[in-house]
Amino acid sequence: MTPGELIFGGGLVSTVYLMLAVPLVAAIVLAALPWHRVSSVLNAAASLLTLAMAISLLFGTRPKPTNFIFIDDLNVSLIVLTSLVAFTTSWFSASYIAHEVEIGRLTPLSLRFYHAMYQVLSAAMILALCANNIGVMWVAIEAATLTTVVMVSIYRTRESLEAAWKYFILCSVGIALALFGTILVYLAGQTVIGPGVEALAWTELHARAAAFDPNILNLAFVFLLVGYGTKVGLAPLHAWLPDAHAEGPTPISAVLSGLMLNVALYALLRFKMILAGNAGAIAPGPLMLTMGLSSLLLASVMLYRRRDIKRFFAYSSIEHMGIITFAFGLGGPLANFAGLLHMVLHSLTKSAIFFAVGHISQVKGTQRIADMSGLTKTHPLLGWGFVLGVAAIAGLPPMGPFLSEFLVVTSAMARQPWLAVPVVLGLLLAFGALMMRLQQIAFGEPRGGTAPVSASLAPLYLQLAMVLVAGLWLPAPLVSWFQNVARLLGS
């Protein structure tokens, strides 16, 4: 094999490389452009181009896996989801940023930085998803973390600096532990596969997992779970998450909640598949069940005491990551299906909610929940969009998350009935908190600013429409797709 073939493989792999190159080139251009209006349009355009290429991966022949890149059913769906939400967020970001510049919270220089970082972030996330190499994936997740750290600190206030510092320290430690786990997986792999880059490739690791030393895999998984679990925001490693969401710009909150947490969870799922392929290794299920349940319960209790709207929805993200981790911990085709579906729907719903939250805090001039009541009276279109989003995330029918949460609960009933009780309890608790705050924000005596929303609400309603359609009718190809992936994930 020539070096060229080793890296680029045969056939259609070039689409994947192009998909990584577009955001990186855009980042360089955006770092140089001084006009922020042009930059925000270009940012959205680059994201749209990336999305188009991601969608093209769905059709045509799958490229043959190389030692760096591979595309399979699991990661292609997440790549499309990631580039979709990255695009809608960049669309939302354009209007959000314009307002921030108007009120002087951001300077043109920091905006150049912001847009460049946004593109680096999407490149890093896509690389993490399509890498066929656990080392490269680790580097990509680290890079994504660092770019978001910088973006969280962009307002340079005392609070945002503290949030970014905390985020940075906790996630760096997490990611360092994940690297130790990665080295252990390589150690397990190289005794079977032989030294070299093949022993880092997902395709090789999955194919030959049965022959690995189970003891090393067990130890490795503990480090990986703690390491990547920190990035997923699983309790008790979630301390960075609410601060990072609350103090950074809202588009970054949307990307963090909607995409970054998914990418880290994807890494965990892949490692779980290696363990599932080895008969002697511990079942990772119970560990994930415990962490998932504790995140769900902790976050749903914590929701009641939040006074800041972005912090409130950050805790809601912890809650939902808990549900998803719980579903994958349960394992089996049905629970995996539910977990995957909830992963997708949570991304779409939560980023839509953050779009609404961004506009709300801008028109009301505050993030304090008590100061933003009566939204449906002052801003009907925005207000009702927000109501729909919160109804969806609370799990009300006919929105999509109702379906996936229902599936999680029923599969828990079928497999481990006594585990369904705490899940339902957590869901009900969170539902109560969400309704209480929704009542306060959407209805009641109007308070706060009444200036009209100048921005387009299209990204918000576009994603809500997708969530609604998913709740009413899932297209058959999509269902069989998810079923296929759920089988891949194993028990």
Binding site: W138, A143, V150, R156, E162
Partner: protein
């Protein structure tokens, strides 16, 4: 029992790295912390170079050079500059007392021996040793980050944690360059980010002590009347 010269030298170098992790834990002055860290990086570099020679893996020399040039020389110099410029020569506060910290450190080393030794029976002696030492260094780095409140010492704790990771990576036979390169890469970026943080923290608070930073917490500010 004799394992041969290969093992003895790897053992000596690895243990020196661990020893310097302990040294980092009890330094009371920032300059002492920086010196201990630089020395640790020298031993990490030596360890990588030795593995490069004994495994006949020339790419590991690059790792050694990076560790030596970047972590043993460039970073301590830069951090020393920051410390001088900001005038923070004073002694540093620890959360626990030195004795308790060292005791906890010994416990962590025992823990990593108990964790790694039984599960790596099939691997070579050098790999087993290096992984155990590496995990100890990682855990001691964590301990340092937890027990020191000062931003500079937290950075050093993080870097010493990464030293442990390098030790682990070079000890495993044939680990591809990807990982070593990535470690160097991440250290580089980490340093830039840290540098920016310093700049801004200095700009805003005139202090590098994180205790001041953490006086603000979460939701509380909005609860105040």
């Amino acid at each position: 029992m004799l394992y041969g010269l290969d093992f003895d030298i790897a053992h000596t170098l690895g243990t020196s790295v661990l020893l310097l992790s302990f040294a980092l834990l009890y330094q009371r002055r920032l300059s002492g912390v920086l010196e201990a860290f630089a020395l640790q990086a020298v031993f990490v570099a030596a360890s990588a170079a030795w593995q490069a020679w004994s495994q006949d893996a020339p790419q590991l020399y690059i790792t050694a050079v990076i560790a030596l040039g970047f972590k043993a020389i460039a970073i301590p110099l830069a951090l020393g500059h920051i410390v001088r410029k900001l005038g923070i020569h004073r002694t540093i506060e620890t959360v626990l007392g030195v004795n308790l910290t060292l005791l906890a450190g010994v416990g962590l080393v025992a823990l990593s021996i108990l964790l790694v030794f039984p599960v790596t029976l099939a691997s070579g002696n050098v790999t087993r040793e290096n992984l155990t030492l590496a995990l100890s260094v990682v855990l001691l780095g964590l301990l340092m980050m937890i027990t020191r409140r000062n931003a500079v010492t937290q950075v050093i704790g993080f870097m010493s944690l990464e030293n442990g990771l390098v030790l682990a990576a070079v000890g495993v036979k044939g680990m591809p360059l990807v990982v070593e390169g990535s470690i160097a890469f991440s250290i580089l970026i980490a340093f830039i980010v840290f540098g920016m943080f310093f700049f801004r923290i200095r700009e805003r608070f005139d202090t590098l002590d994180l205790q001041y930073l953490e006086s603000f917490r979460g939701d509380r500010h909005v609860d105040r009347p």
